[in-house]
């Protein structure tokens, strides 16, 4: 019997053909694998959120194997001595067991928590990128709305998860949440007793939050993320203006192999950073908080950072009660405004922003090219204003810790927050606006007069002038090079960007362009050969 020769080199082609014979996938796959993604570091920020979500799913599944989502009272008898013999809920006892008795449990819990913080942080950073570059404009308004919803659903996922261990800190948070719900006029008490199954804390809330945290909210997140990514595919990614890039093309790397490999590598990096943080930094030491008891409230009780702005708004709100003389009198508590009305306004404003801006600018065209923040000063300034507002609220959420550690009076912190909340956003608006205009002006100046070389020349009549390197070799009417048009992309402002240092080595973070291969475009004009160095240098050797 003749042995068949095994040809390893032909194996991929053969198996691919076999698959295609059966499923007819070659055509759609070719389209998919050849899909082009533009490449810029800021486009990877959203991926951090996506990858940390995957880590969240993986570590979360591990935690569900050991977590017991009930509020049945048990006596703890695990390995953490200072709590042994203490009555507590089964949820808290099983969280302690995950931390101290399950092999690898603590790092999994910490990775899960760090990944949650990273997920929210990456969402916010990604959102800022999208906002400041105008990537939310038509046709991508829907994706902007989905993104904003992802923040709020992530907020919900974080809050339900944070409450699950039933420790002293999370119980305090839950108590505040119940108070917020109770503050809603008319329906508050009904909503609260429906959620808690009666009076706070009841016996059912952990089981309910568990199912919300492991099924409903993640289901919603997966659905929203899928639509988000699907729309990025369908509508194509935005790109920066630049050489050969127009509103109707996409310049970048193919999905396979480069882009997929890079993304795979980036996933590993994100996973690694989360694992490092989970292993190195202690987060949420529930064993110190103790089991939740209504009478135990620690100093420095804060929510996780993405909820802290609501804590801050509550701390800054003056105690203004509204009495409505109906029947026996009805009171709208001050808590209602900073914790229900304010987030409502924020959701409305943030989701509607693309439409507000389009309406104001009467701009209803498709935009696939990004804008540099400096080129749209009003939007950038509005963004800075929103950011200042958010940061003041977040810092106020931790104002007791800041007051204590920096020896400031807590009362002063509260008043600084109140005043800062009103005056810092307009100041941020003004300063950002002026900075944008200044940067724009400098770009135009360099395009008109060239790059400052740092070489000072003395003219025969005694004047000193700085030698400028023009960005073009073309001759204008008056002998000077003509002013170049701004095309919405980086204007080179340093001589080494023009190849003054000779052929550049590849940078670690940035590719340093080699002058000879620089692409021809208005933004990156062709650069002349380096002229022979003349003896007008400063004499110092420059790096």
């Amino acid at each position: 019997m003749k042995r068949r020769k095994f040809d390893a080199a032909a194996l991929p082609a053969k198996s691919a053909r076999a698959v295609d014979d059966r499923f007819q996938v070659a055509t759609p796959l070719r389209k998919l694998l050849n899909k082009v993604f533009p490449d810029h570091w800021s486009f990877l920020l959203g991926e951090i959120a996506l990858f940390s979500f995957i880590v969240l799913l993986l570590t979360g599944v591990f935690l569900t194997f050991f977590f017991e989502p009930t509020m049945t009272e048990v006596i703890y008898n695990g390995s953490y001595a200072p709590l042994r013999g203490t009555p507590m809920s089964a949820a808290y006892a099983s969280s302690l067991d995950i931390s101290f008795d399950v092999r690898g449990g603590l790092i999994m819990r910490q990775m899960h928590h760090w990944a949650a913080l990273l997920f929210m942080a990456a969402i916010v950073v990604h959102m800022l990128r999208v906002f400041f570059t105008g990537a939310f404009r038509k046709p991508r308004e829907t994706n902007w709305i989905i993104g904003s919803l992802l923040f709020w659903v992530g907020f919900l996922a974080g809050f339900t998860g944070y409450s699950l261990p039933d420790d002293g800190l999370s119980g305090t948070g839950l108590r505040i949440a119940s108070a917020i719900i109770l503050s809603i006029p008319v329906i508050g008490s009904w909503v609260s007793s429906s959620i808690f199954g009666g009076e706070f804390p009841g016996t059912i809330i952990i089981s309910r939050f568990f199912i919300a945290h492991v099924l409903l909210v993640p289901g919603l997140l997966v659905a929203l993320i899928s639509v988000h990514l699907g729309l990025v595919f369908k509508q194509k990614h935005t790109q920066w203006p630049g050489p050969g890039r127009t509103n109707s093309n996409v310049v970048g790397e193919r999905m396979f192999p480069r882009y997929a490999l890079k993304q795979g590598g980036f996933f590993m990096v994100v996973f690694g950073v989360i694992a490092l943080m989970g292993g190195l930094f202690q987060i949420n030491p529930i064993w110190l908080f103790g089991p939740y008891e209504a009478w135990v409230v620690s100093a420095a009780s804060q929510p996780d950072w993405y909820v802290m702005f609501l804590d801050g708004s509550t701390r800054l709100m003056p105690g203004w009660e509204i009495h409505i003389p109906i029947g026996n009198g009805y009171v709208i508590p001050p808590l209602f405004w900073p914790t229900v009305v304010l987030p409502g306004i924020l959701v409305g404003l943030s989701t509607m922003y693309p439409f507000l801006e389009a309406r104001r600018l009467k701009d209803y065209k498709h935009h696939n090219l990004l804008q540099r923040p400096r080129d749209v000063p009003a939007r950038t300034a509005v963004g800075a204003m929103a950011l200042a507002f958010y940061i003041v609220l977040t810092l106020s959420g931790a104002n007791d810790v800041i007051a204590d550690k920096f020896h400031i009076s807590l009362n002063a912190m509260t008043w600084a927050g109140r005043i800062g909340l009103l005056i810092l956003p307009p100041i941020a608006y003004y300063i950002t606006y002026r900075i944008c205009l200044g940067l724009q002006q400098h770009d135009r100046e360099v395009l008109a007069h060239g790059v400052e070389t740092g070489i000072i020349k003395r003219l025969p009549d005694g004047r000193f002038v700085e030698v400028h390197q023009p960005l073009t070799s073309a001759e204008g009417h008056d002998g000077h090079p003509p002013a170049l048009d701004y095309v919405g992309w980086v204007v080179p402002k340093k001589m080494n960007r023009l190849g003054a240092l000779g052929p550049a080595i590849r940078g670690f973070f940035y590719p340093i362009e080699k002058p000879a291969e620089a692409p021809v475009s208005p933004g990156h004009p062709p650069v002349e050969d380096r002229p022979e160095r003349e003896e007008i240098g400063s004499g110092e050797s420059r790096r």
Binding site: L117, L118, K262
Partner: protein, 277 residues
């Protein structure tokens, strides 16, 4: 005191053991004796309890008390007055605060105060342990008050009870990790990290600065031992199983860490990855 008691008990026994029928002379004599005894009792009790004219001017101090007075007259008298009766607008009276209070304030360096402010700050102590004891003795002899018992203050402690009591009574101000927290108008609950057993005990007994007093009928000496053991053994020597504790400030430093470490590291990673094109 004891002699009076014996005397009274003797009198009662005599009354109980007396025969029912007695002659008038004996009854009169008995009445005279009882009157005399009652007068003696009242007079004796008065001499024992009444502040002597002598004691106010020149209290009979022990040797340690005299040493303490000498230190007091140099370092404390400016604010607390010549006989520790306090000076309006500068320092409170120390009559009745007890040696526990002196021990806490002076051994932690809070007294002498550097300046008048919302609250005295912990500093390197100005006096040696011996001097602190002498100062305490002086104040104790002046007006009495709570004292820190000698011996092991953690004896027979139960960590779990201590933890529960700590979370109920202490964590509102000193925070779950004992790192301290802010109070109103620049006052604060200090970190427990540098506090010794005796200082924690003295603080609970005397309620220094803005701290409430946790007397022995609110938190028994045994419960105090539990709390001290929890603070010293668990909070300080627990070793943070999860890694670097970020100062145990709760979610606020965790939020800073995720941006300064997580986001910064990953932005550099994305710069690096996007740069490789």
């Amino acid at each position: 005191m004891t002699s009076d008691n014996d005397r009274r008990r003797g009198l009662l026994a005599r009354l109980r053991g007396r025969p029912v029928a007695r002659s008038r002379g004996r009854r009169r004599l008995g009445a005279a004796v009882r009157l005399f005894a009652a007068l003696m009792l009242a007079g004796g009790a008065y001499t024992v309890f009444a502040p002597g004219v002598q004691a106010q001017d020149n209290p009979p101090l022990t040797a340690a008390g005299n040493e303490g007075k000498a230190l007091f007259d140099v370092s404390c008298v400016t604010c607390h007055g010549r006989n520790a009766q306090g000076v309006e607008g500068r320092g409170p009276s120390l009559i009745g605060v007890g040696s526990a209070s002196v021990e806490f304030q002076v051994s932690s360096g809070r007294m002498p105060m550097a300046r008048q402010e919302a609250q005295a700050m912990r500093k390197p102590p100005q006096f040696t342990d011996e001097q602190v004891r002498q100062l305490g003795q002086y104040i104790q002899e002046l007006g009495g008050g709570p004292e820190v018992p000698n011996g092991d203050l953690r004896e027979g402690a139960n960590l779990a009870t201590g933890g529960e009591l700590f979370r109920i009574n202490c964590s509102q101000c000193h925070a779950f990790g004992g790192g301290g927290g802010a109070l109103s108008s620049g006052k604060y609950a200090p970190s427990l990290a540098p506090a010794s057993d005796r200082q924690i005990y003295a603080a609970m007994l005397s309620g220094p600065q803005n701290m409430p007093v946790f007397g022995d009928n609110q938190i028994t000496p045994q419960e105090k031992a539990d709390i001290i053991a929890y603070i010293q053994d668990t909070l300080k020597n627990d070793g943070d199983p999860g890694g670097f504790n970020l100062g145990r400030y709760g979610p606020s430093t965790e939020g800073i860490a995720i941006f300064l470490v997580g986001i910064v590291a990953l932005v550099f990673a994305s710069l690096w990855i996007a740069g490789k094109s």
